[in-house]
């Protein structure tokens, strides 16, 4: 009724009629607050993780002999007379296994990403993507079991070595585990290259391989770097598979057939036997802080590298 609209608010009962803060208004505000709380939950948890593992490890860090901690290969936390906490051998174990895993998985993942993203089409492409996704779904404890009971005898037979639980074994397992995530992210990076780039190159008479090599790969190199970094992070933080397939012996490896022990696996194997608040317990949390810090830096770097591609 237009006639009433022209009448001022006083005439229709004051401003309260224009106040539309009914149930729906309050519900809307309440939900806005609720989802905001949900939204910042990820930040809360990241800070929570940092605070809690630091809190438990603090007592150890305060008395930490830094050069010995990083420089000594002797990890003997359970020695009664003179427990030593040197993580050099553990770091060497993690580094060698992760390194071999990357040697195995980087070329294969990038190759698979290029094939799936640039060569394969239609049904073949969808099938391959699904298979890669399935590969990513296999739980790490199953991978560890595979290393222990399938790869172990295989390596002993093929290379004629006494022990099959080694850098080689866990490196291959870890490579297969890291490959799907790297393939998926690398393929996303290839997909992010605009089609107009490809069309322009093709219009100049370039073959498909020339397009990939000269146009697509240079344009997506930051995304591919990020994919590799995230793969490294994945391998670095993997626990159960490394625990089961690496042999779990404290050792600075000199050949791929040596057994090693990783930082993550040390925590998993020893935490159950320590008394809460003991030096050993706190030392394991200190390893956790180290792991947290390194993966944080890796993820941050990967994020910055990807951002770089968007700006540039």
């Amino acid at each position: 009724m237009p006639a009433e609209v022209s009448v001022g608010p006083e005439a229709v009962g004051g401003f309260s009629d224009l106040d539309r803060r009914g149930w729906d208004w309050y519900a809307d505000k309440a939900v806005a607050v609720l989802v905001f709380v949900g939204g910042i939950s990820a930040i809360v948890f990241i800070i929570g993780i940092f605070v809690f593992i630091t809190k438990e490890g603090l007592g150890f860090i305060a008395t930490l002999d830094v050069p010995e901690f990083f420089g000594s290969p002797n990890w003997r936390p359970t020695s009664e007379r003179n427990p030593t906490y040197g993580i050099l051998a553990l770091m060497a174990g993690t580094a060698s296994v992760t390194g071999l895993a990357m040697v195995v998985s980087v070329p294969f993942s990038l190759g698979a990403a290029i094939f799936i993203g640039e060569f394969a089409t239609g049904r073949l492409r969808e099938t391959l993507k699904v298979l890669v996704e399935m590969l990513a779904a296999i739980p790490s404890v199953v991978w560890g079991f595979i290393g222990l009971s399938i790869m172990n005898p295989l390596i002993i037979d093929i290379f004629n070595v006494p022990v099959g639980l080694s850098v080689l074994n866990s490196g291959i397992i870890l490579g297969l585990m890291a490959a799907p995530i790297m393939t998926t992210i690398a393929e996303d990076a290839l997909k992010a290259v605009p089609d107009s780039y490809r069309e322009a190159a093709e219009a100049m008479g370039a073959t498909r391989w020339q397009v990939i090599w000269r146009v697509v790969l240079p344009a997506s190199k930051n995304g591919l770097m990020a994919a590799i970094l995230l793969g490294v992070g994945r391998g670095f933080g993997e626990t159960m598979a490394v625990l089961m397939a690496s042999g779990h012996a404290i050792n600075i490896p000199t050949s791929p057939f040596d057994s090693v022990r990783a930082l993550t696996a040390t925590i998993a194997a020893e935490l159950g036997d320590t008394a809460v608040g003991s030096d050993h317990y706190e030392a394991l949390f200190t390893l956790g802080i180290l792991l947290f810090a390194v993966t944080f830096v890796i993820n941050l770097t990967a994020d910055l590298v990807v951002k770089g591609v968007r700006k540039g």
Partner: protein, 289 residues
């Protein structure tokens, strides 16, 4: 008119070569998995039976079934879902429907990426410090499930955000123009149109949660318990830890037993995954916009 020069021919050969090379790499990535699955089925298959799934382990876990571990995993996954899905969906709704493009949103996104990248054993340490010790839940299903919930939160957030963003902006604008509030629009338009996508993500989370070992090792999963949990404050066995225990910690386990456990575990995970993927493909075919 277009005669092939020697250069053209060489280019073709190079292209064919690389195509074959990359195809081979892709196949080499997938073949080991097929082989592994075949070995698991070949060696673990004979162990599987109804009795294997429904009886408790006996003789120091060298015989009998996996019933308590199976039920324990169901408990762990269920409680983890109850905790993480509401928070994850709320976070996704915030990021997709409310968040302005500012520093806070960038920090949230960074936190999500980092949460997904934190090693599982660090999540275990966090669960031990925060839920078992600080919140005094003790080693219990509750503590283990909350640890799993924090760990898989990024899966829910990312997949839900994607399916919310797939709802066309015009749907929202049409609803706002009718005078609906933001929440009414989300409730009546955005969520109903993306619910199946959200479900796909939840199924994927189930498959992740079921296979995790390290986060539950010190927070709630027990090596051996011959009975079923009665409440969330009890400890429980879990499939993943059970596989670890009988393949590394218990002497004299017959060879086929761990293969059977591994087969059931991987079967659970892959079926959930296949369900999630199938659901997604079906949805893509059904989508009208």
């Amino acid at each position: 008119m277009f005669t092939q020069t020697a250069l053209d021919q060489r280019n073709k050969q190079v292209e064919w070569l690389f195509r074959a090379l990359f195809l081979m790499m892709t196949i080499l990535l997938i073949v080991p998995v097929v082989l592994i699955l075949s070995v698991l089925i070949y060696k673990g298959g004979p162990t599987l039976s109804w009795a294997f799934l429904t009886t408790i382990p006996t003789d120091g876990m060298t015989a009998g079934g996996i019933f308590p571990a199976l039920i324990g995993t169901v408990w762990l996954v269920a409680v983890a879902l109850i905790a993480s899905v509401p928070v994850g969906v709320a976070a996704a709704v915030y990021l997709s429907e409310y968040a302005p493009d500012n520093w806070l949103t960038r920090v949230i996104n960074l936190a999500i990426i980092n949460l997904a990248g934190v090693p599982s054993i660090v999540h275990a340490l966090f669960g031990l410090g925060a839920f078992v010790t600080f919140a005094r839940f003790g080693t219990s299903i509750l503590a283990a499930s909350l640890t799993l919930a924090v760990m898989t939160l990024p899966v829910v957030i990312v997949s839900t955000r994607e399916s919310l963003q797939a709802v066309p902006q015009a749907f929202r604008e049409a609803c706002w123009n009718m005078g609906a509030t933001r929440w009414q629009t989300i409730k009546k338009i955005v969520l109903p149109n993306s619910i199946s996508g959200i479900l796909t993500g939840v199924i994927l989370e189930v498959s992740r949660t079921a296979g995790e070992t390290a986060p539950v090792m010190f927070t709630g999963a027990a090596f051996f318990l011959p009975f079923l949990p009665q409440s969330v404050f009890d400890q429980t066995m879990a499939m993943s830890l059970h596989l670890f225990v009988i393949s590394t910690q218990v002497p004299g386990v017959p060879e086929n037993l761990p293969y059977g456990v591994a087969l059931v575990l991987i079967g659970m995970v892959l079926i959930m995954n296949a369900l999630s993927i199938g659901f997604r493909v079906y949805l893509r075919g059904k989508k009208k916009w």
